[in-house]
Amino acid sequence: MMAEAETPTIALRTPETVMKLARLGAFHQTRLSFMRQLLRRMKAEQWRFEIPVFDIDSNGIGHAVYVAHAPGHSYSLIAFSHDLPPEQRSDRVIATAWDATFTLFDGIPDEADIARLADNVPRQEAGRITDRELALSRANRSVRLWDYVVDRLAAGKQPDARKIAEVGYLMRTTAVYGSGKFGAADRDALADRPEFQAPFQVEMLSVYLTRAFVMDLVEHTARMRAPERALALDPVLRRRFGIGNSTGLGMAPFLITHPALLNNWVGAREEALRRVRALPEAPRAAISAFRQTAARARIHAHGWRSDHPGQQAKLEDLRADMIALGDHLETADMKAPYPWDRLWRWGEATLSLEGQEQLVSLLLEPHGELVDDLCETMSADEDENWRIDGAMPLSRLRDIVEDIYGWALAIDWSAKPAQARIWYTSEEKLEPRMGERFDEPLSPYEQPLGPGRDAALMHGDITASDAPSVAEFLLKHPEHRHIARRAQIAAKLPYAEIRDNTIDAAVMPIDMLRMKLSFFGACHFDPRSDRWVRINMYQNAPFPEDLARNAADDWTLPRLPEAGE
């Protein structure tokens, strides 16, 4: 009996455990995710919303302005709606025309701003925006759903809920550019705006307003077609539409090129899990909230569709895991000391990676007061730890490499599969791509996105060097400067480096995409190949006009009464 009262040591999960691609590729959204941070803030600060302009003709051509008033600033989504011939509709980044194009404007645009942006925003990468603009994006209609919904509404009928569930959105964004891209304002320039302190808040706001616009547009289109008969969407059905998003390879290198940010995202999530596990007891209300969330996650797992064989297998695991969790909760002793830790350890021993990482999200859910302050730790200044410490003894750098990249030193890099893949930028679209190192003449163009291989190469040269310090070593070996910096960063920031081979023959870039998108708050990951993925954003979220009346943070998982759907 005495042993039970002892305080267990509950440590953070190690980077060796967490930073594996297969596990990162099983992450789910949590209450720390960026969409949820944004909605909680908008609700708490009582943001106001208005639509001063909605000028779109019966061919779907025109523009609209959606304004969000934050306490100190206003931001406007300027949406341009186009009449896109079907043969031009493509989600790929190489597309040159879209159904709708957008920019998030800093303030409220006047007519001159709109005229300037009308010349540039529809051209996306080929146009030019300014430091008055914070983001640039575009979206395409879901061919499956758009016409169907317009037809139904114009006929005076509601769309079928099952059809909505099959797709889940009327438009998908195919790129949302922020942070200085194509002339937009730098993130640094917004440093004094509290609403943009957390990561990707500009992009999340832009997509949130885009969803509102798309729903208004579909109703508007039906009304233009049948002014007498057209219905508005039933509010219950309306909320079931999110905004789709197609994300390709371009997002994967971001995680490698932003090590401090990666560390802070994963670190916040891991610390949140540790805090919950360290709770000595579970109040009745928290247990009941947890059971509810677990039941909702079970429904969510059943509603999640993918045609990708890898994801289908993971979904089978997840569904079985959610049933196992439900069964376990029937008998688990939640009155024993450290009940959350016991539950976690049960999960670690029992569930698949999908299930374990879903359990992380579920454990955080009823503990907002305990973990939400960690949201403030999730942005990062990459420059803070970016300078190389040249005075470091070379033997210390060798120790760091052996500690952090031990997994890479164990790989036989002369075997072709170990570095079969190569990351490069294509001349045609200036976008990151992945190729076959031994089949294509790409080596001269390799991007530094294989830290394991680079660390192993540096380790060989360190071993052969008699330089006393990192400074002396790098003077002789400038080719290792990039990886020496990464190693020193990772020595300070434990979750800064993916502990897996990002150029292996079997690497799945979608694992990196999934991890990043989970921090955005995305759901329904649907890989379309090993290197691009579709998701749904803001599905079931309250619309701007509902935020004041509705809960801002209880929408990500489906509600229980809909269980029979």
């Binding site: 390879l249 294509s426 992945m434 003077l475 400038p478 290197r531 691009w532």
Partner: protein, 217 residues
Amino acid sequence: MSWSLNEIEALSRKAARGGGMDWGLAEETGKAVRWLCAAGWPGPEALAALLPAQDGVTWEAVRPRTDTDPWSARDGILCPSAAGAALTDRAQTLAYGHTIAMAAVARPILLIPYAAWAADLAERPLCIRWPGVTVTFDSGTPRADIPDPASLTAARTETLEIAPVNETTGQPVARHTRADLPADTARTLTAFAQRTYAPGTPESRATGAGAGLTDND
């Protein structure tokens, strides 16, 4: 045309890499050019002039020999990116109160940001100076004393030093959040950046970005 600082950093990083620098040096060069733009100084122009002049040279030819005083390059003129990297790597020397002198540096303006970073690392006020230019750094805003503006954009300086100082002097350097890049500068940097892009091939078009399934439904 007005550029964001992120764009300038990315372009400069790629141009430096395209000009033959290793990635780690190219990354620092990108940040150095950004730093100069934030100070309102013509960093991109300096890089656009440096890269053609250094095109095809080897690291061993232009890196500093740090065991001599002043530091100098084997083949006559120091690359500011190489000298800057070596300088920040030896910030501890500056922390101890030593001065680092260099002989024959190309485009010395590109070294200014490295001196700023070295002052951060050394945690003491430093200055970088060459004839006609003195810029000092402590924890606050950098200050510049530039009696001869042409010296700031000089193609080379025969003498340069980074030295501890007791007080900062000169005009505070204003902060800028954008930069106007002259068209010829942008063209030159873009041409060097272009060297980092792989030419399109049928394979890369077919599979590089991961298409294969229809994306249009």
